[in-house]
Assembly symmetry: C2
Homo-oligomer: 334 residues x 2
């Protein structure tokens, strides 16, 4: 991104009570868009579409445009003040050139520039989807009003984002918040990042279910697939291996949280994603491990709570890059 | 601290080329003070005194005052523009009410208020000593000019501080930077913080030497005490247990650094303290463990370098709380 473009994209956008911003959430499973007002509520309904499993970069782009246009049309095509995007990483930030691990059609795809060409004369801002999710929980969710927060997701992957001193943390290259790659067990399983013992290698849904299968678990229902959702159901039925699998993943999350708040002296950690919906199966062992490893008084004060926002969090957080730029959009001049 | 006091203490202090600030460094072993100019250099010589091993809170205070007064007298008692203090933690921040773990005479000691009473009409700012050390390395040391940095010390304890986006990170209660309490081995030794497997429990000097003793090491020289300094000397002589002890501690530091930069996407980590002076004994295994666990491209870019500043770093960093307050002193209004 040119310097002038960075500065243009940094400008504060003032919204009236009837103005809105397009929030766009691009992940490996689905693409979602919706219009967000200045108080963080959705104007009309969001629109979703599955992410094309195969196909070219152009095909993927066409789906993104269609989702945006349908979301706009559903609210009578209002004039929008900007577009905020949360996209699966990694990416070159703040340029918005994306190479999502699980969207193989896009490698070095200039998402920000393409959106600007398609929707001219409004700012377009792109950030990592785990970071926009954290922004949403801080803006209108479980962390609202608190200055020092972690928002994290335990799902197919494990990711997160930080708010420190009421400001979103970007990190040097826009990659701050990768809690999934905190080492929780140095002799643990190898991770697809290339490291070993990362939180994600243990606690992500497929790894949790995979460990259970290794221990001899098979789904109680013959038709069910051996995934984290089935595992949760079987754990609630009292399956000991399934319960142990969630305990192992929960403990890994608790250890990572103890380390994170030692480093950042946080007020709150908000946890969302599929595995948290399994409730105490994950959360109880997580709290036990946290209590065991967090020895200092300021660590113990960390509040650990489930996410409050639903599946619209991605869209709302994306829109916050435009609507609440003073908190959530701070690229630095080079 | 009252709100008005917080605001008074936040005011920016403008220094002319001949002005100076008193920097005060209070640790469990020594108390040091010196005058620092606006470019971070020392005016005249620093003054040091051992920390009284026993005695009352008043006795400790008397030594602090004497060290300050001797440092001032050594430069002809110039008018000072403020006092910056790095003190061993924990403390209530930004109030400067300190209870240093290894200075038992002080429990809830109102250091900031007492200094203000003794040196009236100038601002007095107190922060954790590991944080002021990080500020010094960022201001005029190995991390200067970089926006995202960790400064850490591996010594009798293991501590640190962060600079993110060119700003010192305080955390909610002023305790950010406790890298010594990142969990590097969940089944590792118990830590004096009450947790288990913390970096400090493995890598601090006494733990490094203690582990070697457990494995059968005794100092090669009969008169030497079985501490980290002797251990380093014996390791350089080729003692295999001593070499293994440094390798174990270095690996623990490397694991913690991989986790830290996954979370904060840093440019540089600056490492100081006694154990780093042992050179490749610690640094080589540390780099190996970091390379093994840091899988993501943005993690691998972290530069890991030894500290540049000498024993004056504590004084210079303390003074930076006054001299460079726009970067290093950001208490938030309540």
């Amino acid at each position: 991104m040119s310097k002038s473009n960075v500065i243009e994209e940094r400008a504060h956008v003032k919204l009236g009570p009837k103005d809105c911003v397009l929030g766009l959430d691009i992940g490996g499973t689905k693409i979602a868009a919706g219009l967000v007002t200045r108080d963080g509520s959705l104007l009309g309904r969001m629109h979703r579409s599955p992410t094309p499993a195969r196909g070219t970069s152009d095909r993927m782009w066409e789906v993104v445009v269609k989702v945006c246009e349908k979301a706009l049309a559903a609210s009578g095509n209002p004039k929008i003040k900007g577009i905020g995007v949360g996209c699966a990483g990694p990416m070159v930030w703040p340029d918005g050139v994306v190479s999502p691990l699980n969207i193989t059609a896009w490698r070095g795809f200039p998402l920000q520039r393409r959106l600007k060409e398609h929707f001219p004369k409004i700012p377009v801002r792109v950030h990592n989807d785990a970071i926009t999710m954290a922004a949403a929980e801080h803006w209108i969710g479980a962390a609202r009003g608190l200055d020092h927060a972690l928002g994290m997701v335990v799902s197919t992957g494990v990711g997160g984002g930080f708010i420190i001193g009421n400001q979103l943390v970007d990190g040097g290259l826009g990659n701050a918040g990768h809690i999934g790659h905190v080492v929780v067990d140095p002799t643990g399983p190898s991770c697809h990042c290339g490291g070993r013992g990362c939180l994600e290698a243990i606690a992500r849904g497929p790894s949790t279910a995979g460990w259970a299968v290794e221990q001899g678990w098979t789904p109680h229902s013959k038709e069910a697939s051996a995934d984290a959702k089935t595992l949760a159901s079987d754990a609630r039925d009292g399956d000991e291996i399934a319960i142990a699998a969630f305990a192992r993943s929960g403990e890994a999350v608790g250890i990572a949280l103890a380390s994170v708040t030692a480093l950042l002296d946080l007020d709150i950690a908000v946890i969302g994603g599929g595995l948290v919906q399994s409730g105490p199966l994950l959360m109880a062992p997580m709290r036990r491990a946290f209590a065991y490893h967090a020895g200092l008084k300021f660590q113990k004060r960390l509040r650990i709570v489930p996410a409050e926002l639903d599946q619209t969090a991605g869209i709302v957080g994306a829109a916050s890059l435009i609507i609440k730029s003073s908190n959530y959009w701070n690229p630095r001049d080079e």
